[in-house]
């Protein structure tokens, strides 16, 4: 659908289909995300936007189609052989995922959560990982919460730690699955603030599923509207939020804005 200007895309989704039983949730999605781009995916609940995101790092196995992250190509569907599992792991290592309900490791402190990936998956030394984790705690603005357990933190703080945990893997792309939907309204701002910093200061490639249209307008390089398993409209925030061409998009925006 979109041509990425400088050749290599960080994420390339081609012909993605996903069915749960007989119900087809995704009906052929093509999406390219260029280096440093922030793509906001939005749509009605049940439109398939979260499934699309979860297919990118194979938390859901695509029924059909290809996913390419940082040059690693994986065909969807078929049996997960050892070779395929290895490739999926390689994709996941290069993909940072932030979940709607944070999913911090409940038995580890904030700092240990951030250290976990580098130590266990990348085999870094604890000392090195700890130093890097402390820096990331600064990036998300929580340097004094290092020794707190998740249950001792607010939702907004937990989500910021979750972002730090994903960043610690030094990913090619960050995936955000409705990162503010489980938060009390007054805590949404702090999480969006961190995400804004990632986009503007760190030039992080990001795919964000969200209803926060204000954030999209300000930060997104591109937006994609998902309707009944298809991307039916795609463009800059100015185009989509200003003058959507499809009636479905218009109706959705009228409802949320």
């Amino acid at each position: 659908m979109t041509e990425v200007l400088n050749g290599a895309a960080d994420v390339r989704v081609t012909g993605l289909r996903k069915s749960f039983g007989t119900h087809e949730v995704l009906k052929g999605i093509d999406l390219d995300v260029g280096h440093g781009e922030v793509v906001v995916i939005f749509g009605r609940s049940g439109s398939g936007k979260s499934t699309l995101l979860r297919c990118i790092n194979f938390l859901e196995e695509p029924t059909e189609g290809t996913i390419e992250v940082a040059g690693i190509r994986i065909e969807g569907g078929g049996i997960r052989t050892r070779a395929k599992r290895d490739r999926i792991r390689q994709v996941r290592i290069r993909t940072g995922m932030v979940f709607q309900d944070f999913n911090l490791f409940a038995h580890r402190t904030a700092l240990e959560n951030v250290m976990e990936g580098p130590v266990t998956v990348l085999g870094r030394s604890r000392k090195q990982a700890r130093a890097a984790a402390r820096e990331l705690m600064l990036v998300v603005g929580l340097p004094d919460k290092a020794d707190h357990y998740p249950i001792q933190l607010s939702g907004g703080q937990q989500q910021r730690i979750a972002i730090a945990r994903a960043l610690a893997m030094d990913p090619t792309v960050m995936l955000f699955d409705e990162p503010t939907s489980a938060l009390d309204p007054e805590l949404i701002g702090e999480v969006l603030g961190v995400m804004r910093r990632l986009a503007t200061e760190l030039r992080m490639t990001m795919v964000v599923v969200t209803h926060e249209m204000g954030f999209a307008r300000e930060v997104a390089s591109r937006m994609a509207f998902v309707h009944e398993g298809e991307i039916i409209e795609e463009g800059t925030p100015a185009e989509l939020l200003g003058s959507p061409s499809r009636p479905e998009t218009r109706r959705f925006l009228e409802a949320v804005l």
Binding site: R92, G96, N103, F105, G117, V121, I151
Partner: protein, 310 residues
Amino acid sequence: MAVGSESGGGEVASPLPPAGERRSRREGLELYSARIPFRLKLAAVWATILTLLVALFAAADFDTAWMRDHASFIARGITWTIIIAVLAIVLACVLALFGALGRLSHNAIAVGVTGFYTSFFRGTPLIVQLFLIYLALPQIGIALGEPWATWLTLDVLTAGVLALGLNYGAYMTEIFRAGIQSIGHGQSEAAEALGMTYSQKMRRVVLPQAFRVIIPPTGNEFIAMMKDTALVSFLGTSIDQMEIFRRAQLVGKADFRNLEALLVAALMYWGLTTIFQFFQLRLERRLGKAYTRGTAGVSAPGQRAAAGRA
């Protein structure tokens, strides 16, 4: 008029006049009782029970001197009881872990083998399993010829540990499975999203959290197992390898002091289980650490449940 739920059916049927006086006396008793601290009342109840028991034993021509003389002989069995129980619980935990992982896997061999294992060992009596392993295995060994005949002829201790471990492992498979399943799917997904392998995910994320759920019921299993070590006695053994119950039986029968001997044995089991409960409680408190909010007094649900049991 107002027939309260506290007045019994008999009272209603009886003639009316004394009711007022009676109720006030009863009320007085209630008020008096409420002033006594609960702990004191509890101690009184225990003291009464123990006094009654002592009186009963005295009537049965109870010989405390004999108990004192033979306690050390029976106590030498404690070591074997503990050795059998500890080895068997270790075996049971290992089996339960693999049993649970097997039952939760998508591998037909793993599901089938663990399914057969739990079904058989939960479906047959422990005492039968003990004898199968001790008496029946050698028969299979002989049929297979050497070296199987030697390998499958087990001494009492090995057979006992094996039977207890296999049996408890089958029950504990369910405990471990439930513990693993109690950890939310989100924890697994977060681990997978970081690129962890199955074994990394289990070792670093799922099992450490599941153990907190698994430990209280496992402690109960261990307590039950310490008592079930007495069953190993039925296999018969040489005098230096006898556990508590076998020793008690032996001296009790010889001097016809069964009451004294068995009481000593019972007290020893009771002591062992009480000591263990104390350690279990401390361990649970440590494991609850990550689940307490800032205030120190708040305890995790598992702790409270265990405190209620102890």
